[in-house]
Structures are given as C-alpha cells and as structure tokens.
C-alpha cells in the first residue's frame, strides 16, 4: 500500500480524521522550508501538502498568492522543491508528502520526468489544480506509471454525472473543495459539507478530505466528525507570513497553530460522543 493509503487507514483505525496541512514550498525561503515541514509533523499533521509556487496561481486567494510571490522572489526553483522533498523523506520515512500546484511547472520538463522524479525523491502524490479529468493524458498516465498517487479535486459543482470521471484514475484520497471559489475564502456551511461528503463516500472507497476555508480548530473538528481528512492551508500560510514579517521563526508559529488543529481533529469524534 502507499503511504497515503496507510496513513488514512491508520487514522480510520484510531477512529479519527487525518490532518492534512498545506504550505507553499520556499516560503519565505527555500532554506526555511525543511524546518517548517518538520514543525507540521511535530505539531501533529498526518499528511503534508507541499505547494509548488507559480507566478499565476489562479485558484488561490491573497494569502497563498503572496506566499507564491515570496517564494519565487526568494529564488525558489523546481530543483529546490525536489531537494526539499528528498530531505523530508529521509527525515520522515512514513509521513505522506503530496506536491500541490499548477500544470505548467509540473509538465515543463515533461510529464514523465516529473512523475519519475517525484517517485525518486519520495513524493507520494500530486494534486494539480488545473488538469481536470478531461485532460488526464497530460500528466495522469505518467504518474500512474511511476506509481505516484494522483489526487483529484471534487467541488460543489461536481454533480453525480461527473463524479465517476473525477474518480476514474484518482488515488490516495479524494480532495473535496468545499466552496466554489478560491483558497482562503469563507468556509462552506457545515450541513452542505456533510451532505456532499455523504454523496462522495457513496461513490468511492477512497478517503475523502475536505478543504478550502478551514481555519480554526473548531471548524476543523466539525469537519473531522464527518470526513476522513481535514485540509488546512491559508491559515498556516498566514501564520508563516506574520512570523516572517515580525522577524520571528515561522517554524515555531507553524508548530503552535498545527498543534491546536491537531488536538481538535484528534478528539473531534470522541468529544461528539461525550456530548
């Protein structure tokens, strides 16, 4: 089994959701990222999404746009990101690592090169925001051949007719984008999330993780009660930005915010039972 499957299975066995955390690679600098990733793990993150910065992040709100700009201005390259992934894999042999980003930086040197290099450095999965199932041949086949999970996105606009196409070729987990919108916006209503997750789970055995707009431990806990995973991105990215601007260590800020989220996710279902 893959690291992603193992991790979601282990969390399920513990009767809890997985905490999936996103940071932009190279923000605020490539040198700072390894310690930030370590802090995510130390804080209790189960799955790490490492964002590949892009000049034109069309699906991202201001927080992640700024992170991409900081990263690129700090000189982050694709090589840096792959080296960061390789170092992470050496330090954390069992924690799943997923690269998330946009098509162009991923396919620039060819899909096969990208997929094989991901496998080589220990990347478990890839999330590409702007390759829908209709364009799967751009990257999907290469990832499957290299045994790297392709995590697809389902959204509130993905209806029952489309869902099978989204699931076909998706592995690792299914990422439910809970709001029709960009990252860092308001959270969707809890009832709509619950209904959507129920529909998705009826269509697949893959774990379903819910993200976009999840900021606080309370929100994370509410989602953790119904989904297999909770994704938090912009809130962590903002904490990195604030610490960096204040001249503090971003890794410390990251560890603190992730600990809070992790505690909430870990106990969400038991607290619900107690209540």
């Amino acid at each position: 089994m893959s690291r992603l499957a193992d991790t979601f299975a282990a969390c399920a066995k513990e009767g809890r959701a997985a905490l999936v955390t996103f940071v932009t690679g190279g923000d605020p600098s490539p040198a700072a990222t390894p310690a930030i990733l370590d802090a995510l793990v130390a804080g209790g993150a189960d799955v790490i999404e490492l964002g590949m910065p892009f000049t034109d992040p069309m699906a991202d709100g201001p927080a992640i746009q700024q992170a991409d700009i900081r990263s690129l201005q700090a000189g982050t390259t694709t090589r840096h990101l792959l080296d960061i992934a390789k170092g992470f894999r050496a330090r954390h042999p069992t924690v799943p690592l997923v690269l998330m980003g946009y098509a162009n930086p991923m396919v620039r040197r060819g899909a096969q090169w990208f997929a094989e290099t991901c496998a080589e450095v220990g990347v478990d999965g890839v999330i590409c925001v702007d390759i829908p199932p209709e364009e799967d041949d751009m990257l999907g086949a290469a990832l499957r051949a290299a045994k790297v999970d392709l995590v697809r996105l389902a959204t509130p606009t993905t209806d029952a007719a489309r869902l099978p196409a989204v699931l076909d070729g998706c592995s690792g987990f299914l990422y439910y984008v809970s709001v029709a919108g960009i990252t860092g916006m308001q959270q969707a209503a809890q009832t709509s999330i619950e209904q959507a997750v129920a529909k998705l789970k009826a269509g697949t055995d893959l774990p379903v993780a819910v993200g976009f707009g999840v900021r606080t431990p309370d929100q994370a806990a509410a989602i953790a009660r119904v989904a297999d995973g909770v994704v938090v991105g912009s809130a962590i990215v903002e904490a990195i930005a604030e610490a960096h601007e204040a001249g503090q260590d971003p890794a410390v800020a990251v560890r603190s915010i992730v600990s809070g989220l992790s505690a909430a996710v870990q106990t969400a279902r038991t607290r619900e039972q107690a209540a």
Binding site: D56, P57, M58, D60, V107, I131, P132, M138, L153, T157
Partner: protein, 410 residues
C-alpha cells in the same frame, strides 16, 4: 460527408487544435464550460440567435466595416520600393466599429450567449481597455451589471478607457498582483468566476482561454474575414496575396485569417510585439520567443522560464503584452500555414505616424505593429499584388503613450 483537407474544422471534440488548446481549468469551472459549449452549439443552430446577432452587428456595431484601398500609403511605399514593386494595400476598417476596435464583435456574440444561459452578471479582463470598454458597452446595452478586471499598470497607462468603462456603468477593479497587467487581470477574473459560477458569465476578450472560448471568439470575429473576402472579390475580382494582422491573444488576426485558411494562394502573417527587441528579453512574442505550456485554461506557446514560471511580456501597446497566444495560432504556426514575425515598439511608432500622415487615420498601437510589417512586405511584393491589413482599432486611446514616447508634452 466528411470534408477532407480543410484547416477550418478545428478544434476537435475536446477543444484541441493539434497539441494545443484544451480545457485546463479548476474542477469548479469544468461543468460550466461544458454547459457553455452545449449552449454555444444550440445557439449556432438557432436561426433566431443568428438573426439577433446580425441585427446588432449591423445597427449597433455598424457593420460591415469598409475595406479601404489606402492609395496614398501604397504610393508612399512604392516611392522607396524597387521598380515594379509596392503591393496594393487595403485596410479592413474595424477601427470604425462602435467603441473603436474589433473587440465589440466578440462581445455582442458572448453577451447574447450570457442572456441565453440566464446569467445575470458579466465579468471581463482587459489590457488596453478596448475589450473592457466593449464589454461594458454591451453590458449597458443589455442592462447587466459588469465588473472589469484591469492590471493596475494598465489602469495608469490607459486612463481614458478606465473613465469610459465607468461612464458605461461598469466597475473597474485594478489588479495589483503579479506583473499588474493583462495576465494578472485574467487570473483575477478567473478567481471571480470560480466564486460566482452560478450567476456570472465571463466574457473573455481574445481567442484564448479554455475550450470553447478560442473557438467561439474566433467564430464571432470571423465576420472580419468573411466581409473582407466578399469585399475584395467585389473590388478586385480576386483574393488577396497576403493578410496581415497584429497579435496580442490573436482574436483580430484569427478573425481575419480563418475564412481564408483553405485558400492556398493567400499567405498570412501574424505580427507579435517585439517590444524593445527580441534579444533584449523585453518583448511579448510568445511564438518567436516562447515555448509550449499551460496557462489560463489552454496549452499554447508562452513566455516562460525553465521552471515553467510565466515571464512578463513587454510592449508599448497594452493590448499586445500578453505572455501567451491563442491556441489556434500555435497550431497554425506548428503546421506552417501562417507565418509569424515581430515588430518593435520603435517600428510600430513609425508606422503609426506614417498612417496618420498618409491616410488621415490615427491607428491604435496594436495594428500599428501590423502596419509596420505591411510596409516591409509591400516593398518586396509586386505592384499588382494585394495585401489586406486588419486595422483593428483606432488610436485615440494611445495618444498619451505616443506623445510620451515621442518626447512631446501634451
């Protein structure tokens, strides 16, 4: 019956022009662009849609636009050409359209689609402001609220058009992210769209973006080429030898070229902006200076670095400094049907002034790039040959830019 040997049957069912085009968008948008495609097919088959489009094109836009023999320009070029050389130059006068550019052709078509789909809010991106003005215009005409995204740098460069859009009731949002120009405005429009898919129609201003946009923008702009073809047959009794058009995203060019693609004796030349010069790096020539990649929903030639980060385009013309190009042009370049060259800021400024003085027409800086190439080519061609250039916009919006480039205070 399947028609063999046509170059006019692109894209394929998946929206691909050869290896270019496609639908590289976030999942949130996929259902919507599939729906748009269906609605476009229905509209194309609906005589009522065509009738309304034709009516608006005639009475609101002012079509057909004249095909004008630029005799003094032709004569002036002949003076510096070898004996017997100096092709006849015709100008397709799309600068005479309502709002002063070809952009309105596409906007009229798209707003009719928006209305058919029951959308109640319009958004658009704009570079020079011509597409923004055209969108604000049709939104006013159909009584729909309109938000136009414009790079903050372009807001400064094109202030008259910003004011025009506001007069027309549109809200202009200055985009501060990235390079603060057209590509960033397009990113922001896409962000708005994903958050408002239920009620919003995105009127894309050039023949780019996810399928079906490159196809439908081309179809709406093809009125230029269809008219030009009929007009030149009437005036000269034969097809032209060369078509020339400027390329930002490529909508005016594909609009002129497409109806002629299957006429093998008609050569075509697309002109990209060479800015300060191709070797300076400060240009917007995606085909000459770029490589294939994925941006804004389609695979096409892009200005980018070795990691796939998009680099900034430069041109004196705010309508040309887009780092990409419509996917059909990438394909036509690939198969060699259309030739693509580039013209610098300086050359465009010279051509701008040449047209002002020889013909009494102030062109926009975008078609001034095409005109510079026309002068270059006309000299090499025989005097009995014919060139049609797309005069796709008028230059009122550019007089401040031109004055400052010429060192004149106004």
């Amino acid at each position: 019956m399947t028609i063999a040997n046509t170059l006019r049957a692109q894209p394929d069912a998946r929206g691909h022009f050869g290896q270019f085009g496609g639908r590289y968008v976030a999942e949130t948008l996929m259902p919507l662009i599939l729906e748009l495609e269906k609605e476009y097919r229905r509209a194309k088959a609906d005589p009522a849609f065509e009738a309304e489009l034709d009516w608006l094109m005639k009475h609101y836009v002012g079509r057909p636009s004249p095909l004008y023999y630029a005799e003094r320009l032709t004569e002036t070029i002949r003076q510096s050409a070898p004996a017997g050389h100096g092709a006849k130059i015709y100008l397709k006068r799309d600068e005479l359209n309502h709002t002063g550019a070809h952009k309105i052709n596409n906007c009229v078509g798209q707003i009719l689609l928006a209305v058919r789909m029951g959308k109640t809010r319009i958004i658009a991106e704009t570079g020079a402001g011509q597409h923004g003005v055209a969108t604000a215009t049709v939104a006013a005409r159909f009584g729909l609220p309109c938000v136009v995204y414009m790079g903050a740098r372009d807001v400064e460069r094109q202030s008259p058009n910003v004011f025009r859009m506001k007069l027309l009731g549109a809200e202009v949002r200055a985009v501060e992210s990235g390079s603060r120009t057209l590509k960033d405005a397009m990113n922001e429009a896409l962000r708005d769209w994903v958050a408002n898919v239920h009620d919003t129609f995105y009127i894309i201003g050039t023949a780019a973006g996810p399928h079906p946009y490159p196809e439908l923008v081309r179809d709406f702009q093809s009125v230029i080429g269809h008219e030009a073809k009929a007009q030149i047959m009437e005036m000269e009794g034969r097809l032209p030898d060369l078509l020339v058009a400027a390329i930002g995203g490529g909508s005016n060019a594909i609009g002129l070229f497409h109806p002629f693609l299957d006429d093998p004796d008609v050569a075509m030349l697309g002109i990209e902006a060479a800015g300060h010069g191709l070797d300076t790096g400060a240009h917007a020539a995606s085909l000459t200076g770029g490589e294939p990649g994925v941006l804004h929903g389609n695979r096409t030639f892009l200005l980018q670095d070795e990691d796939g980060q998009i680099t900034e385009g430069h041109s004196i013309s705010a309508g040309l400094d887009y780092p990409g190009i419509g996917p059909e042009h990438s394909w036509l370049h690939d198969i060699g049907r259309v030739t693509y060259e580039s013209v610098t800021d300086r050359e465009a400024l010279d051509a701008f002034q040449l047209l002002c003085r020889t013909e009494g027409i102030i062109p926009a800086l975008e078609p001034s790039h095409a005109l510079s190439a026309v002068a270059r080519k006309a000299r090499e061609m025989k005097a009995d040959q014919i060139i049609i250039a797309n005069l796709c916009g008028r230059g009122d919006k550019d007089i401040f830019t031109v004055a400052s480039a010429l060192g004149v205070a106004i």
